[in-house]
């Protein structure tokens, strides 16, 4: 028996969401009295060490050039590992890869899936009960997984990552993907230009602006504030629709759903579809010149006034604070 955790390397690092999953899987292994096994493709020694520090007892280290981000191949690889190691629970991040792979594996293994877990499971006989957000963040549901094999996709940023001195046993692992005929052929690939910022789904601090900023030429002050905080920039949907900002910065129901520690919303009215993507944030600051803006009802801190004068003042205050801290 084991808990199997799917993990990934991205831009030379173990993905933060993967470290969260290893922490999470290790905790479940403890609950069920079994071992936590991480599976990873193309990791170097440092990355393997980090997976160990996050709590993996064993790591299945793959070296497979073919797998890439193909959901069919990844699913087949995890399926083989799950069978070989009698996985009771398989953990994925509920990120773009996890959303493509976990459902496929769920169907293949007839393993019940909770897609977007936000808390640790509780054990109830042979079932696990896991909480997940529903109705676009307006409510939480407790799901029970009753199948023998269980799948949990963990919503990123649900828990802070904890690293210890643990070292994992490393097993060089190979999978046979010959029988899997994925017909998906990659023609072109582009990275989002994030200008060195932490990618939005992983970001703990986010500075977001809306139509109140009037035009793309005014984003300089938003970026400056973000830089001062080491935050990532985001925007409301109309801003992306009008091409003021790139599409990958759009948050909300139709865009990316995020749950950073701090979300600063500037010149955004707070429409319900916008809130759906950000209401999981730990702390929300709203800056708006209309004191009746609906966003204030969903904020922890509010400032009424003109964004164009407030943003530079806030940036100054942040810089002063940072200078004082160092």
């Amino acid at each position: 028996m084991s808990i199997l955790i799917y993990t990934e390397i991205n831009k030379g690092r173990v993905k933060k969401a993967s470290l969260e999953c290893v922490n999470y899987g290790a905790k479940i292994a403890e609950l069920l009295g079994t071992e936590a096994i991480a599976i990873v493709n193309n990791a170097d020694a440092t990355q393997l060490e980090e997976l160990g520090k996050a709590g993996a007892n064993t790591i299945l280290a793959l070296k497979n050039e073919k797998m890439g981000n193909d959901s069919m191949l990844i699913s087949a690889a995890v399926e083989q590992a799950a069978k070989a190691h009698h996985a009771q629970v398989i953990v994925f991040a509920f990120d773009i890869t996890g959303k493509a792979v976990a459902p496929r594996l769920s169907a293949r293994l007839k393993a019940g899936l909770v897609a977007g877990a936000v808390d640790y499971p509780t054990v109830n006989g042979n079932t696990l009960e896991v909480k997940k957000n529903v109705f676009s963040g307006k409510a939480t549901a407790v799901y029970s997984i009753t199948s023998a094999t269980k799948l949990i996709a963990l919503l990123p940023n649900s828990f802070p990552v904890k690293l210890t001195n643990n070292t994992a046993k490393i097993i060089e692992w190979s999978v046979n993907l010959e029988a899997v005929s994925s017909r998906v052929v990659i023609k072109e690939q582009k990275s989002n230009a994030t200008g060195g910022m932490i990618p939005l789904p992983e970001a703990e601090l986010v500075v977001s602006a809306g139509r109140g900023l009037k035009g793309p030429e005014n984003w300089g002050i938003v970026e400056e504030l973000a830089t001062s905080l080491n935050a990532t920039t985001a925007c409301s949907r109309p801003v992306a629709d009008m091409h003021w900002r790139p599409h990958h910065e759009h948050v909300g129901q139709t865009g990316v759903a995020i749950r950073p520690n701090l979300y600063i919303a500037i010149g955004i009215s707070g429409a319900i579809q916008h809130l759906a993507g950000v209401n999981g944030s730990k702390t929300i600051v709203v800056i708006n010149n209309d004191k009746e803006a609906p966003f204030f009802k969903s904020a922890d801190y509010g400032i009424v006034g003109d964004a164009f004068t407030i943003i530079p003042k806030l940036t100054e205050a942040v810089k002063k604070f940072k200078a004082h801290q160092n």
């Binding site: 981000n69 496929r104 897609a115 009960e129 939480t140 509010g302 006034g305």
Partner: protein, 247 residues
């Protein structure tokens, strides 16, 4: 070329969510239901555009649900889908829905199966991948562009940290996101025509229940917003550090 579009019936985005039966059921009293936005604006409209460009012959809607979904299905027909199938049954989870759709698709042979990115009620992003898994078909998720030529689909889609353009021989399953197409409003002629378009109802197959919902709770909204003077940004920074502990 036949396209199957899976549509889900969901409470309108502005619905005030309430539960009943000791917080074990969603309370649908007084709720307005609509086609899940991603299924309608992106999957269905793109399928219709492909048909209008003579790249597909037929667009069929499929829905797994009870008779009270029929008005929503008719709306999809009014937008221009040719016919619809409702699998009459309400399952406990995405696996139930996916099993029903996969069974139907296996028997009827579609070249393309389109689903939405996620439903706005259960936010699972699961049904499409499950259908693909059950049918052993490729799955391309979060498509923002889709072109068809001969027996091949060219798809632009979001991946972790970027975008990818891929090609795939048919058949396959695609989940659709913003960018695929623009919202359409049904016209009077479409609404009239929808009344007589075929909507067949078939009974659901038995499937294993893998998960179920035990209870719901409403997420507490924020109750107090601390207002800070615009000339006192030092105070805000201080509160973010000492009170909220986020910086």
């Amino acid at each position: 070329m036949k396209i199957l579009v899976a549509i889900s019936n969901v409470p309108d985005t502005t619905t005030k969510i309430q539960f009943s039966d000791g917080d074990t059921k969603f309370n649908s009293a007084g709720v307005t239901y609509v086609i899940n936005p991603y299924d309608e604006w992106y999957a269905l409209v793109r399928a219709l555009e492909l048909k209008e460009a003579n790249l597909a012959e037929k667009v069929t809607l499929i829905h797994v649900g009870l008779a009270d979904s029929d008005a929503t299905i008719r709306k999809g027909l009014a937008l221009g889908a040719d016919d619809a199938v409702r699998i009459d049954g309400e399952g406990p989870d995405a696996f139930f829905v996916a099993s029903q759709i996969a069974n139907h698709a296996q028997a009827h042979g579609y070249d393309l199966i389109l689903v939405g990115k996620e439903t706005i009620n259960y936010n699972g992003s699961s049904v499409g991948g499950m259908i693909a898994g059950l049918m052993d078909l490729p799955y391309v998720s979060l498509a923002t562009k889709l072109e068809l030529a001969a027996n091949k689909a060219t798809i632009e889609h979001d991946i972790d940290g970027g975008t990818q353009i891929v090609e795939c021989e048919l058949p396959l399953v695609i989940s659709c996101a913003k960018g695929m197409a623009d919202q359409r409003i049904p016209n009077m002629r479409g609404i009239m025509a929808a009344r007589t378009k075929p909507l067949s109802v078939v009974s659901a197959n038995a499937t294993d229940a893998l998960t179920g919902i035990v209870a719901y709770t409403l997420n507490a909204g924020r109750t107090t917003c601390k207002m800070i003077d615009e000339n006192n940004m030092d105070e805000l920074v201080n509160l973010l550090h000492t009170e909220a502990k986020v910086i």
